[in-house]
Symmetry: C2
Subunit: 500 residues, 2 copies
Amino acid sequence: MATAAGVTRTFLGPLERSVSVAAGRTAVACGEVRLTYAELDERVRRLIGALRAMGLSRGDRVGVIGRNCHRYLELYLAVPAGGFVLVPLNARHAEPELRYALADSGTRVLFGDPEHAALAACVERFVALGAESDALLADAAPEPWHPAAEDDLAGLFYTGGTTGAAKGVMLTHGNLVANALAFMTCWPFTPATRWLVVAPMFHAGGTIGVLAIVWAGGQHVILPGFDASAALDAVAREAVTTIFAVPTMLDALVAEQLRRPRDISSVTHLSHGASPIADEVLHRTRKAFPGVSMLHIYGTTETSPIITLLPEEQELLETPRARSCGQPAIGVQLQVVDLARRPLVAGEVGEVRVRGANVTGGYWRKPEQTREALSDGWYLTGDLGYLDEAGHLFLVDRAKDMIITGGENVYSTEVEDALHRHPAVGEAAVFGLPDVRWGEAVHAVVVPALEVGEDELIAHCRTLVAGYKVPKAIHLRAEPLPKSAAGKVLKRELRETYAG
Amino acid sequence: MATAAGVTRTFLGPLERSVSVAAGRTAVACGEVRLTYAELDERVRRLIGALRAMGLSRGDRVGVIGRNCHRYLELYLAVPAGGFVLVPLNARHAEPELRYALADSGTRVLFGDPEHAALAACVERFVALGAESDALLADAAPEPWHPAAEDDLAGLFYTGGTTGAAKGVMLTHGNLVANALAFMTCWPFTPATRWLVVAPMFHAGGTIGVLAIVWAGGQHVILPGFDASAALDAVAREAVTTIFAVPTMLDALVAEQLRRPRDISSVTHLSHGASPIADEVLHRTRKAFPGVSMLHIYGTTETSPIITLLPEEQELLETPRARSCGQPAIGVQLQVVDLARRPLVAGEVGEVRVRGANVTGGYWRKPEQTREALSDGWYLTGDLGYLDEAGHLFLVDRAKDMIITGGENVYSTEVEDALHRHPAVGEAAVFGLPDVRWGEAVHAVVVPALEVGEDELIAHCRTLVAGYKVPKAIHLRAEPLPKSAAGKVLKRELRETYAG
């Protein structure tokens, strides 16, 4: 069985199918560059040839750091297909973090945008993406794929930069293929799919569609970085059908489209994920992209990444399910459990755990953290939530973001939602600060969109949530909230800033 | 990895998801009976309890023979979920064939419609479907699923009755789940899916959608047997969205709908497969079901069954691709090879072989036939065809149906297509008969729809195909062509009949 399934449960499955059914179709449009699947395959095989010529062998790590680009896509496909392990690095991380990831992973060769050349000191060889990497390909002989197996490691995806030392999440060929299948069972991926890559490709969200698109023989539309105006121009120019964006990017796209409408009639499917989204953004999205099928995706790097899906979200915005992140994806098993890991009944808040072919085997060379996060194949997400009677998951907070004040649990998203219902609130984040009387006190920081005072916002919250949940203090600020590259608000930074 | 994936790559994946996300939704409508997923789950668990109470243990074979019914669906799910192996028997087979399959498989318990009670002598216990089986469930305690693994056997599917001794195709949990995923990546399966079971459930075509429907929390609409009028009434009454039919049934549905139109506006998706289909039937289908998305499925029992898919067929009817059976399904690897098993280039006719998680591990206790059909995970279908440049598969014939006449190869489907273009031709089949001069001579048998003579049909063929392909004789007959339960014309019988 394993032999029979093996090929199709690896990167080779999508690659082989696309080159046999879609050789002449456009695989990727990136600036002036357009590559057919036959051309992409040629470049992938030359890259494999180049890596082998460098003396790399099966399982060796190959890093990449840089902006979104067709070359990034080529590395994403070629490194695993060649039998190596991809290490995508977060281009916004500080140099010590990058050095840590390179050392921890034992990366031998690093492909990077020229401004990262200083990292050459950390690896055997640094190849600048662009002219240098293209010359490397031109000189290399195309080589066949490595006969990969489902359990072969495809990549190490560093995560956790905001809390403690980063960990390399080990994802196999089988993990990432399982994610592609889960995605394809929910959303149409066809030769007519033209997918706008908006999120950074070093994040799970940026490459969430790659294998599904290649498998279907669809097309990538890649922009070097996120700019709402350029992104909408690309949508109109390339007749993009499908978009995935993190909420902050979606918000910017929507604002730009409402301000200066483009022809976005080609867009049929629009998804978002990676962090909670305000109702108001969803309503504006439906207004800016009328008639589009909206999909909420909840996931984690450890789950390759899809866990739950909420399709046709645009039809649910006036219902309580709008606050859900959907039901378990096909092939993903999900439970909400108590501290003893017993499944809870509908309505009870506990920790979300996940099992399935998409779940990581663990963290690279971190047996202790692996044991903490994984047992019996179940991955503990660290997210708190509950299920309704129809298995819709409602997240209430990150486990560690829950505030315990006067013995009561306060889930910060609930308070954030209350704040967002005030028309003057632009951005809002709620967190706990140490407090003599309450243990932790509920604090909020707000970036106003219109002029507003702290008292008015507190009075507003009082009309919506229980007294103990109302912030003891609301800090107003002009500058945007600090965010991770994935668009998550960095609450740790806020706690440090406002702890004084 | 295997542990993590295991559950979701077995029958337990769809069962667990449906009961947690769709417990209150209708799982099956069958005559007066309607069961929610919670009720279906209860009956499935009671059936498992009953089988265990009979002393059956893991891997024991449980047979079923009878008309389509919710009880058939329950057995289809419960037997594998309980850790046993399902043996579906072809209700139209003669008793010696049935006895052979029961003995060969070592079936211990047989569930069957009362008219099959004579088979009780072949098994330890015969349970009549209906009152007796319902009483068995009422007395049984609901029991949990067996912790299945991907490679556990789920069923033995007897095939090949028309050529030599029947073989039990071994399909695992993983095989059938892989098929469900392949289907779901091509067609929408959602809670709103209402699937009309038209083909007999003892055939791969009759259960082709079961796991996908359960996984999505959709609904089965089951009729006891095929009757075009009753089927269309059910479509209108139950607001059926999705249909799979074999060509002969599709033809009857279309004729009935054109004769006496029902409200079929709920139908959005219509698929057909299991044997070649005449262009004319496809055109009439598009006329009878306007606006419906049509899907051609090519498959075999050994591949669980999907191999290739041709979606949006209704848009292709005026193009050469209408004669294709589509491109490899997601997760299915396909090659056309020569006698030395070397892949051929586009346009060259060879044998179709298939690899993937959906491919059988072999035939039950038939190591020799297994070795003939399977090597390196590749399954040799015995079908002849070629690929075009975009990987569309065109079947030309069953390997064994090809006629070699005067040293020239004649593919019977080509001649049948020529015959079907004559307005007077109702049914047509082309086959070879031994001939002193030509080795084999091309013969045809035609069931006329209008009055027509042999000479006129021969003259008609002469205008369409090369001289050596024109039938040497055309036998006209009033009675329908003999067909297998799957709707395949039994050419062996025709050869015997007309050999004199």
